[in-house]
């Protein structure tokens, strides 16, 4: 309290000098804590590591043969041929491949964990089409055995999203895939929050089925627009409050609303949109919706028909996070093409991402990307491994707003690295070593680095 006192005094004086009508001392300023559940993540113990003679896919579109990667203090220190450095650990990776840690932008691990029993259905608050007030991090069970399986497949970073029943499903959280017993200890430091939105069949089925809006696609659009109108007013109210306070007045703070805090975060550019949206015409409208309310429409997830609007997505700077081949479970998933990712990717300034939305395929996101690469190359594309790896590393990091921190093997980046026993685009490929911030978190050949969930411990 004492810390605040001088500034309050200064502000009060300023207000008096400015000749404001409210001459009384200002009430304490109301501010909104934007990070009430802060990350407590700490990298596991690490020593300097030199990986030598590997085929390195950098995540920036480059391939280096017989290259070395040097990890120091949790960061990538050097990448190159025959590095003349000393390390505590040197790994001869002759014949092996090295990639950035794999990033899945679409996971429900922890929120829909294994075992998938009644008590664990924590991923979707299906009580209202707008639940922007929920934060999926509050549902994450760090003991989900799926985190360990994903790590064994090279996943070092993942975004946990709420489900898609609601127009606004709530906040996402980005995690470092380290074993931990609190959510905060996994939370990716300084990663922006995301807001899950959903187009199409799911919201209208869930709410239409209950006889409430939305029951149609036009109802979906009306629901988004009404929410953004309300959020825009909320933002204006807070900005007015802040301006008046700064001007020395003594305004009453607007009533706090955690649902609108999240939507305002989007309008302020602090929270990124992650939009479950399958169809071409819906993605095109969601892009315009963003323009109508002055926010960026972010990443389209699932985007079965993204190939139909590839130009539009690239032009507007949208990432598209896609499956290689899921289809047919709903009408909006009927027009799948196996080259979807490749067609989206082929446009200049595009941001194609391969995602899982699955506790199974998250374990082989490398192979999911491989499927796309090979089916596209059979049908007229010419995509290299060093290019395709970006779909599950750099582009994924870009979608999550963390490309300055991870997603590529470049000097200064966080040392999130995977060593594969062969090309990661082989069905037989396995992650041998996984590093997060320079620390070994998985070693296929050393039981010491096989994490076991509390849930699995001692089961017979």
């Amino acid at each position: 309290m004492q810390k605040f006192a001088p500034s309050v005094l200064v502000l009060a004086l300023t207000a008096a000098l400015a000749g404001c009508q409210d001459t009384g001392p200002q009430k304490e300023k109301v501010t909104i804590e934007k990070n009430p559940y802060p990350s407590t993540y700490k990298a596991l113990p690490a020593s300097t590591t030199l990986i030598t003679n590997a085929t390195v896919l950098t995540g920036t579109g480059e391939r280096l043969d017989n290259a070395d990667v040097y990890l120091v203090d949790g960061k990538i220190s050097q990448v190159g041929i025959d590095l003349a450095v000393n390390a505590d650990n040197t790994i001869d990776a002759q014949g092996k491949w090295v990639t950035p840690g794999i990033i899945d932008v679409h996971s429900h691990l922890g929120a829909y964990p294994s075992p998938a029993v009644e008590s664990h259905q924590d991923g979707n608050e299906m009580i209202n089409p707008n639940t922007a007030q929920v934060w999926v991090e509050h549902s994450v069970w760090p003991q989900d055995p799926g985190f360990n399986r994903a790590r064994e497949g090279g996943i070092t970073t993942l975004q946990i999203l709420p489900g898609s029943a609601n127009l606004f499903g709530g906040r996402s959280v980005t995690l470092k895939n380290v074993p931990a017993h609190t959510m905060q200890a996994m939370k990716f430091p300084a990663a922006p929050y995301g807001l899950k939105m959903a187009c199409g069949e799911n919201p209208k089925r869930v709410y239409g089925g209950k006889g409430v809006a939305p029951s149609t696609r036009m109802g979906n659009m009306a629901g988004y627009r009404e929410a953004w109108v309300e959020a825009s007013e909320y933002k204006r109210a807070w900005e007015r409050y802040e301006q008046e306070y700064a001007a020395g007045m003594n305004p009453d703070a607007p009533k706090r609303d955690i649902k609108l805090d999240t939507l305002r975060g989007v309008l302020d550019g602090e929270i990124l949109i992650h939009n479950h949206c399958y169809k071409a015409e819906e993605m095109a409208m969601m892009v315009d919706l963003g323009k109508e309310f002055n926010y960026h429409s972010g990443t389209f997830h699932h985007g079965i028909e993204a190939y139909k609007v590839a130009d539009l997505l690239a032009e507007n700077g949208n990432c598209a996070a896609l499956w290689p081949d899921w289809w047919g479970f709903k009408m909006e998933a009927y027009d799948m093409v196996q080259e979807n990712v490749a067609i989206v990717d082929a446009v200049k300034n595009s941001c194609a991402v391969v995602h899982s939305d699955s506790d199974t395929t998250i374990q082989r996101l490398n192979q999911e990307a491989g499927k796309v690469m090979y089916s596209a190359n059979k049908n007229g594309f010419d995509i290299s491994e060093e290019h395709a790896i970006q779909w599950i590393t750099y582009n994924a990091a870009k979608s999550l707003g963390i490309a300055d921190k991870t997603g590529s093997i470049e000097k200064g980046k966080q040392a999130d690295v995977v060593i594969w026993d062969k090309s990661p685009f082989s069905v037989y490929a396995k992650a041998e070593h996984v590093y997060i911030d320079g620390a070994k978190v998985y070693d296929r050949n050393d039981e010491k680095y096989h994490a076991v969930s509390d849930f699995m411990l001692g089961q017979k």
């Binding site: 089925r205 047919g328 479970f329 093409v337 080259e339 499927k371 082989s426 069905v427 037989y428």
Partner: protein
């Protein structure tokens, strides 16, 4: 009209010659036979009249020669336990025919099979040539009868109408699995008694016509119809082994997450196990031992393993070959993984196909390389001796949106 008639006659003649006289020789391929012959390199396989006529014959006169040096020939892969041809779009009720609230254990979904489903040509891309189609009962015990169809897309593509009875004796969302077992035992005991009674009174010609359920139970008891039991927990599998022994049933286990704990007993009981190559999470308390290594461990214990695409195995059936590759990378032998998607499926369900041997049904797939590898693609597929396309509407959509045109895409066909 006359003109048309003539061309129709010509067409008919051509078709009949194609179907009955044409000899196709596939030469020089590496052939994985899925039999005791194992792999034969640089082999010639001759097909005629829908059958494999010869392998490496001394003399050969073929109408069509398919040079296949450097390529790999396998039996067509056989999918199982999915709803191919019974569903078009999962969430569209009017396109679903795999389940019915009123269905009993004699439910026969083969009446609803749609060979024109868009899922069928798509599955052919994965080298699938036959499939055991199973009904579903979301939370009941008895799903009904599975049937077998080839993937030719022809109206006459059902190859076996009653392939197996499908039941679930695993965890229940409501009630107890104990009752499921108990009621099944009661049914089987009841039918056994009935059969004995009618045998004793053979002279009585006026015996009631058996009900559909009774006919199915009789076929089970005579081991003429395999019984697929969905079950995962070790203790439940042991109950299934007892059941098999007590009633001399032809049992196949599907799921079998815990099967590795009692693999020897399963091998001894000669029960084939249908597993997923990719299930490795404890999805419930029945699946605490799910692991990518299970297929290989069961194989090594002498269990006949069948690989199947779990989950939405209808739309994703083409992925069967990748699941097999993942099983191989986690300890299954390549040869047995080939069998697990071909001959083991054919043997367990007693269906024709799944092997490259003289006299076998000519369902064949020619691959660019290792059939399990992501970089490999299907070169050619033959079903019942006829070459079939691997193009689907997905290819049309891709081509439409990657072709430049001054007109809207709708004009690109």
């Amino acid at each position: 009209m006359t003109k048309f008639k003539l061309s129709m006659i010509t067409g008919a003649l051509l078709a009949s010659s194609a179907a009955f006289a044409q000899v196709t020789a596939i030469t020089g391929a590496t052939v994985h036979t899925a039999t005791e012959q194992g792999t034969i390199t640089n082999a010639t396989v001759v097909i005629e009249d829908g059958k494999i006529k010869a392998i490496n014959p001394q003399n050969m006169a073929a109408d069509i020669t398919v040079p296949a040096q450097g390529l790999v020939l396998t039996p067509g892969f056989i999918g199982s336990m999915n709803q191919l041809g019974l569903v078009e779009v999962g969430a569209v009720a009017r396109s679903r025919d795999a389940s019915d609230e009123k269905a009993g254990l004699d439910f026969d979904p083969s009446y609803a099979f749609n060979p024109r489903s868009s899922l069928i040509p798509y599955a052919r891309k994965g080298g699938i040539t036959q499939n055991v189609v199973a009904p579903i009962n979301w939370d009941g015990v008895y799903s009904g009868l599975a049937f077998t169809a080839d993937l030719s897309g022809d109206f006459e593509s059902i190859t076996d109408k009653h392939t197996a009875l499908v039941i679930d004796l695993g965890a229940r969302s409501k009630g107890s699995r104990a009752l499921s077992f108990q009621q099944l035992v009661d049914k089987l005991e009841g039918q056994t008694a009935k059969l004995k009674k009618s045998e004793d009174k053979k002279e009585d010609k006026k015996a009631d016509k058996p009900s559909g359920e009774e006919r199915v139970l009789t076929q089970l008891l005579e081991a003429k119809l395999p019984l697929v039991i969905d079950v995962n927990r070790a203790a439940d599998i042991l109950q299934v082994i007892k059941l098999k022994t007590q009633f001399s049933l032809d049992v196949i286990i599907r799921g079998g997450s815990d099967a590795v704990l009692i693999a020897d007993k399963i091998a001894q009981a000669k029960i084939p196990v249908i597993v997923s190559g990719v299930s490795n999470l404890p999805s419930d308390f029945d699946a605490m031992h799910a692991s990518l290594e299970n297929a290989g461990k069961l194989e090594k214990a002498g269990v006949k393993v069948l690989l199947s695409v779990f989950g939405d195995g209808s739309h994703n059936l083409y992925q069967l070959r990748y699941d097999a590759g993942i099983a191989v990378s986690n300890g299954m032998s390549f040869d047995n993984a080939i069998k697990a998607v071909t001959s083991n499926v054919a043997d367990a369900f007693a269906i024709d196909g799944g092997k490259i041997a003289v006299g076998q049904r000519a369902d064949l797939v020619l691959w660019s390389a290792d059939p399990f590898e992501l970089s490999t693609h299907v070169e050619k597929v033959w079903i019942n001796g006829e070459e079939v396309s691997t193009q689907s509407r997905h290819d049309k959509l891709r081509d439409r949106y990657t072709t430049d045109s001054a007109l809207p895409h709708a004009y690109t066909k």
